[in-house]
């Protein structure tokens, strides 16, 4: 964080007075203004800023929605309609919050794939990466509980199916799973009691999330940002100050993202949802297809891939337990990427074999998402089983083996060399753009 080389100089007496008592302006300056940022960051690096905007937007809209929402089984469904129809600008706030969840996941998935492609998980960024996986888990828990709150048919049956997953523990120790599920429900089925506690946790978790995001940014500023070459900053000309260079680029990314966000929120607010959720929860009638929100579909596909047999291996009564373990493992395994990948080269730009496996991994995730939206029968199940195997093979076989057998391409000597070797700067003397902060 450059604490010893801080460039912060208080400009007023009040600033100097505060700096000696609580150096918060100095912390902000060193973290977000004069922080050295690799000069070659592309637009994929704007997703950190985009995600910060998403988190702030979800908390801001969520807090005001909570002022109008009623977390009881009798009133919840109607209070959402009340927000949409009666509350001033309630239609807008509600759409921003509901669409915002999808946008948040859209951005976080790109952010994670970016990390995989450029090897951002490798030393010394392991803790940064693990914090990211914790953030993903917290986001998933928060989004799942939030989707319960409208108390529509999909809310109710989604919770029923997902909380019932824990009953798979009965196959390990009889009665354990049932006890856990009844503890989660606060009853013998999903009810208003469940809704009430999910609301309390849905309000709490975003603040826990904010805390972990703080640690994530802290870890990022200790290790420094990765960049498309995967090289470390070795000399002053490799970096530019965060402000105005990275902040300006972030702003472009954020505004482009907000256009997409607004387009969904104002023109297609229900496109990513399910019509069934506009029918009030009814414990006596199940919707024909219980489908989670799109961002859970790949994990849902992995869960359902474990039927009574898995690619010919009979599972019998352990099918459900295997599915549950596989689904949670699919997220947890991401945290082990720093130790599973044996290659010393970070960026896939210089890894000719890994690059292809990366794109196949992206295809695997999209394919699982598609299969998760389809009914669990026939050819869809077989396909989901094959892609589930592909998903785990990427981590358990591709990452360790490719790193050992692959011959990486020649790395540039430094970030500066990489930037200057590209077209536009070719004719300029190397000193001219090498140190833009010195101009």
């Amino acid at each position: 964080m450059g604490g010893s080389t801080s460039s912060y100089v208080p400009t007023s007496r009040w600033g100097k007075w505060l700096d000696e008592r609580l150096p918060i302006a100095r912390l902000m300056n060193d973290s977000f203004v004069d922080f050295p940022t690799p000069r070659n960051l592309n637009y994929l690096w704007t997703f950190g800023g985009i995600l910060t905007v998403c988190l702030i937007a979800q908390i801001a809209t969520g807090v005001v929605l909570a002022m109008h929402y009623q977390p009881s089984d009798a009133a919840a469904f109607n209070s959402i309609e009340h927000i949409r129809r009666d509350v001033n600008y309630g239609w807008m706030l509600r759409n921003l919050h509901a669409v915002g969840a999808s946008m948040f996941f859209f951005a976080v998935f790109i952010h994670i794939f970016r990390g995989f492609y450029y090897g951002s998980y490798k030393a010394p960024r392991e803790v940064l990466w693990i914090l990211g996986v914790i953030i993903l888990l917290l986001m998933m828990a928060t989004a799942f509980m939030g989707y319960t709150l409208p108390w529509g048919q999909m809310s109710f049956w989604g919770v029923t199916v997902i909380t019932n997953l824990f009953s798979a523990l009965d196959t390990i120790y009889n009665g354990l799973g049932t006890a856990v599920v009844e503890w989660l429900w606060g009853g013998y089925s999903v009810s208003g009691v469940t809704l009430n506690r999910f609301f309390a946790l849905h309000y709490l978790l975003p603040f826990v999330l904010t805390g972990v995001v703080g640690l994530h940014i802290w870890a990022l500023h200790v290790a420094g940002q990765n960049n498309p070459t995967g090289l470390d900053i070795k000399q002053p000309s490799d970096s530019v100050p965060m402000h105005p260079y990275a902040t300006a680029k972030d702003a472009v990314g954020i505004f482009a993202f907000l256009i997409l966000f607004a387009w969904f929120a104002f023109f297609l607010p229900d496109y990513l949802g399910h019509a069934d959720n506009y029918v009030e929860a009814n414990p006596l009638v199940t919707p024909p297809h219980i489908v989670p929100e799109w961002y859970f579909l790949p994990f849902y596909a992995i869960l359902r891939a474990f039927t009574s047999s898995f690619l010919g291996i009979p599972l019998g009564q352990y099918a459900k337990l295997c599915g549950v373990i596989a689904m949670f493992s699919a997220v947890i395994i991401i945290a082990f990427a720093p130790w599973l990948d044996t290659s010393r080269v970070r960026s896939a730009k210089y890894r000719p074999i890994f690059k292809w496996f990366f794109w196949f991994f992206v295809f695997t995730c999209v394919a699982l998402g598609y299969l998760g939206s389809k009914p669990a029968e026939g050819v869809y199940v077989t396909a989901a089983q094959i892609f589930t195997v592909c998903y785990f093979l990427f981590f358990l076989v591709v990452m360790p083996v490719v790193g050992l057998i692959e011959t990486p391409k020649l790395l540039p000597r430094s970030i500066t060399d990489d930037v200057l070797s590209k077209g536009g700067a070719a004719g300029l003397p190397s000193g001219a753009t090498a140190a833009p902060e010195a101009r």
């Binding site: 029923t160 199916v161 009853g187 999903v190 009691v193 029968e377």
Partner: protein
């Protein structure tokens, strides 16, 4: 000096004992925070229900609620009972009676899924054992599947007149909840 460091003295004992008490105290304070999430007294009070069967004529069915779950109660016709009793248990996908009132290892005969002397009544938890949908077959016009019992519209699981799985992806027979006949026309579930 050496003995001072190696031999636990009175202060070491007090430190260990004090910390242990604090740890146990903190851990026991956690329990109310965990236990508050379990089913509360008002939920438990509703954990058994009494149902009057006198208005249900032969061939009719009613759906009751017990612990938030739908309970299928059907007054089976003679031919439905005969169809349920004549099945070869060995050929069923699930040969377990799935009756919570029994120990858990009985074969899935119709007798093990009904109450002796009231064989025309079948009482089931109406939740498909596949993915938790509510099967069709309670109303007169409903599709009941080829075995005349219940049919789950979600993924095509077909149950017979004893609520046993016969066809489709569901792994288990419909559960029989614990219940007893209080009189000839009244049952208590739970």
């Amino acid at each position: 000096m050496t003995t001072d460091a190696l031999e636990p003295n009175r202060r070491d004992f007090l430190v260990v004992a004090g910390n242990a008490f604090a740890a146990v105290g903190a851990a026991s304070l956690l329990w109310p925070f965990i236990q508050q999430m379990n089913p509360d007294a008002s939920t438990k009070a509703l954990s058994s229900v009494e149902i009057d069967l006198s208005p249900v004529k032969e061939g009719q069915a009613i759906t009751a609620m017990w612990r938030g779950k739908p309970i299928f109660i059907r007054n089976r016709t003679k031919s439905e009972v005969e169809a349920a009793e004549s099945v070869d248990v060995a050929k069923l996908p699930d040969d377990n009676a799935r009756n919570e009132a029994l120990t858990g290892n009985e074969p899935a005969t119709d007798a093990n899924r009904t109450v002796k002397g009231h064989e025309n009544w079948i009482v089931l938890i109406g939740i498909c054992t596949h993915l938790g949908c509510i099967p069709k077959g309670q109303s007169m016009g409903d599709e009941r599947g080829e075995y005349g019992g219940w049919f789950c519209p979600c993924h095509g699981s077909t149950y017979d007149t004893s609520g046993r799985i016969r066809k489709g992806p569901a792994p288990r027979n419909l559960e029989v909840p614990p219940y007893a006949f209080e009189t000839d026309t009244k049952i208590k579930i739970g």
